[in-house]
């Protein structure tokens, strides 16, 4: 009465598909493990024979070199680990600044590319085609040697309105210097930010409930600025003093001086990546069917409202995944900083590796760093992608 059971027991395990599947996995995993073990053991044996050991103790040693751009105080007596952190933060600064500006410029370019204005449309198309077909390394070196180092010397610096100094020692811009009351002001700003968020979400809930379209963004911004202004006025001392750059001796001081290396790297990365983002945005917008636009126009929405309320939310689903890879590209491309002498994490790691001979450790650390940066970015973008996906019915 149990023919099925009889059949299954008749199949030997080496022909049982379920067993074979698991067995295959196990063998593959074992092979990989063996491969790893052999490689690592081989490396350690090789290094040991040359009297070289691998560990991270050396990071506590005194670095003995100086770095041009430091986020926190650093000098030759600092440790290698501190030097590495400087590089890490410099990479972070370039990545964040780069992503923000590349996104802004990219969206503008993508929209301009689809503009019905012939000149804007052609200009954007030319820009996208031109930039996308350049080599990034060449582009960066062009910005460094061809633009920022060609600016006049400090004493003949070009001064733009608004006290912007352009010289081959860097670009000086006016910058706020925090005073004693700044910490209080920062608290007020945080409060303003929270209030703005509340305004934003309540207005959005209101709009969804009633179907009206209040000026959500405008009110949100206004409430933030309002709180900020109140803070600025009521504090006994101004929280920030405007500091203007000026020439002193061999250098620019005061304000915020952006080095030619930083300027070359960020302008190169931003202009380059924005071209790709522009194409991504254009593709996203074009993926929304024409009927959607026509329908929204028929409902009486103007072209900006059409873009904001109908086209963009749908386009985002197509835009976000490739946009993530552009962000990842930008972060990883920032390691080309070494070509323009900007001390990012790869550059500093290179210097440390040179002075200590710890190639294996340093390359490992750099790989891990970029991996973590990229994974965090993907994680955030995937989370955002999930959210934009939910818009879909």
């Amino acid at each position: 009465m149990q023919p099925d059971q009889g059949q299954t027991t008749a199949v030997p395990f080496w022909r049982d598909e379920r067993v074979l599947k698991i067995l295959g996995q196990v063998i593959f995993a074992l092979m990989i493990l063996l491969f790893f073990a052999e490689i690592i053991q081989n490396m350690q044996a090789g290094l040991a024979k040359q009297g070289i050991t691998t560990n991270l103790e050396f990071l506590k040693g005194v670095s003995g070199f100086d770095i041009s751009e430091t986020v926190f105080p650093y000098d030759r007596n600092s440790t290698y680990w501190q030097a590495y952190q400087i590089g890490l933060l410099n990479t972070l600064v370039v990545s964040v600044v780069g992503i923000v500006f590349a996104t802004l410029l990219g969206v503008i370019l993508g929209v301009a590319r689809l503009s019905t204005n012939y000149i804007i449309n052609r200009l954007a198309a030319f820009y996208l085609e031109f930039i996308r077909n350049l080599s990034l390394l060449v582009f960066l070196i062009f910005w460094y040697l061809g633009v920022f180092l060609k600016l006049p010397r400090v004493k003949e610096a070009i001064i733009w309105p608004g006290n912007i100094f352009l010289s081959n020692r860097g670009v000086g811009i006016p910058w706020g210097i925090p005073t004693a009351s700044y910490p209080t002001f920062r608290l007020i700003l945080i409060f303003g930010f929270i209030l703005a968020l509340i305004v934003y979400f309540s207005l959005r809930a209101y709009s969804q409930r009633t179907g009206r379209a209040p000026l959500t963004i405008l009110w949100t911004l206004l409430s933030f600025i309002f709180i900020g202004l109140i803070g600025w006025v009521i504090l006994p001392e101004k929280p920030l003093i405007l500091d203007v750059p000026r020439v002193e001796g061999l250098r620019l001081i005061g304000g915020k001086v952006l080095s030619p290396e930083f300027m070359a790297l960020t302008s190169g990365l931003v202009l380059y990546t924005s071209a790709f983002i522009g194409e991504v945005v254009r593709a996203g917008i074009q993926s929304v069917s024409k009927g959607q636009v026509e329908a929204s126009r028929a409902l009486g929405l103007n072209s900006f409202q059409t873009l904001q309320l109908v086209v963009f939310p749908q386009a985002l689903r197509v835009i976000v995944p490739p946009l993530t890879s552009q962000y990842l590209n930008l972060i990883k491309n920032s390691s080309l900083a070494i070509a323009v002498a900007y001390p990012d994490v790869f550059y500093v790691a290179n210097t440390i590796q040179n002075q200590t001979g710890r190639a294996v450790e340093m390359i490992g650390m750099v790989m891990l760093t970029y991996l973590v940066f990229s994974l965090i970015t993907s994680l955030l973008m995937n989370w955002y992608n999930q959210r934009t996906k939910l818009v879909e019915r």
Partner: protein
């Protein structure tokens, strides 16, 4: 996400493979390379470019002879020391040392392949066996001699670190550079000395650190920096290829000791000896006045026992090094003695003239001193 992990894992593996192969078959001195190790390397990483560093007593010479050419890591950007000339040939003081070594091994100074390496990659190139010897104006220091796995052969050029500034800047001392920017090359002792000296003087400055000599001096000539620092010999050499050499002055300060010389990797004492005695032969050639022009007549009429031993007419010093007895003869015949090498590249008739200073024989008040050939 899992895919990403897997991919990065692969990358790490790949890099470890490269690193591993670099050091894999390098037994301690006296130990022989076992077949097992070679097999492991080739079986485990068949796809990766396998670079097996030949080390162990006598292994390097064997490899070089089997290959039929010496591979020498040199500079390609410092005129007078290591430079690619207009015809695409390597020339310079450090380059000629490689030729002397090839002459000693093969009796043929052309059996040498020059491999340009940057300051940053030079030690890795040597350790991984990509080059047999590094002759690239490299400063002898403790860490490099120990932890980095190198053996410095001997100092061939006694140098010191200097500072070059534009003449119209009016800078005459390091203190005048207060608040300025200084161009320097990464991965050098120069970079460390600069930090040391400036810290000791209490001068604040901003370093602008570049990857190679060309970009360092390109940025300097664009006015990115108020000064540029490297070994004095390097400054003299690089000044000749600036747009207007007369517009730049080298300050009269010496920031450090920079003994420059060739180096080999740890583990092959025979190779170390050959490299070292080639340097001594160059010194001795000048001391005994044996030149490329007169070496044949000296050989025919030599009476002084040490000259006879040096030229292989008496005893078998060359065989003891693992070479032929006329090794030194070929050095003088094909390359010349120290003085000839020096004058050819750094002498008064060259654009990169550097007075000999410490780089004279001990008999002339310098530091060059060869142990006895016996």
């Amino acid at each position: 996400m899992r895919k990403l992990f897997a991919f990065t894992g692969m990358l790490i593996v790949a890099s470890l493979v490269l690193a591993a192969c670099g050091g894999a078959a390098t037994p301690a001195p006296g130990q022989t390379v076992t077949v097992k190790e070679t097999v492991v390397v080739t079986v485990v990483a068949p796809a990766a470019p396998v670079v097996v560093a030949p080390t162990g007593y006598g292994v390097t010479l064997e490899t070089v002879k089997a290959r039929g050419a010496l591979i020498c890591g040199v500079n390609s950007q410092v005129p007078g020391f290591g430079y690619v000339d207009a015809n695409g040939n390597f020339s310079g003081f450090d380059v000629d040392y490689c030729r002397a070594l090839a002459a000693a091994i093969f009796g043929d100074a052309t059996k040498v392949e020059f491999r340009p390496v940057t300051a940053a990659e030079r030690f890795t190139a040597l350790q991984s066996g990509e080059i047999d010897i590094l002759s690239r104006n490299t400063t002898w220091s403790t860490v490099r001699d120990t932890e980095l796995g190198n053996n410095f052969v001997h100092t061939t050029f006694y140098d010191g670190q200097g500072m070059m500034v534009p003449k119209d800047s009016g800078v005459t001392t390091l203190q005048d550079l207060e608040g300025g920017t200084i161009c320097v090359q990464t991965g050098t002792t120069t970079e460390l000395n600069l930090a040391d000296v400036m810290a000791a003087l209490g001068v604040s400055y901003t370093p602008a650190v570049f990857d190679d000599a060309d970009s360092t001096f390109a940025a300097y000539s664009e006015g990115r920096c108020d000064g540029v620092t490297t070994d004095k010999s390097g400054l003299v050499a690089r000044r000749t290829v600036l747009a207007d050499p007369s517009a730049h002055v080298i300050l009269d300060v010496t920031m450090s000791k920079e003994p420059l010389g060739p180096l080999v990797r740890h583990g092959d004492d025979q190779w170390f000896d050959i490299a070292q005695w080639t340097v001594f032969a160059l010194f001795a050639g000048e001391e005994f006045n044996i030149t490329s022009a007169n070496v044949d007549s000296v050989k025919a009429s030599a009476t002084a026992p040490e000259v006879k031993r040096l030229l292989g007419l008496e005893g078998d010093l060359g065989l003891k090094l693992g070479l032929t007895n006329d090794w030194a003869y070929y050095i003088f015949k094909l390359v010349g003695n120290y003085e000839e090498v020096y004058n050819r590249n750094l002498g008064p008739d060259t654009p990169t003239y550097i007075p000999r200073g410490y780089n004279s024989l001990y008999t002339d008040g310098g530091l060059l001193y060869a142990p006895p050939f016996r």
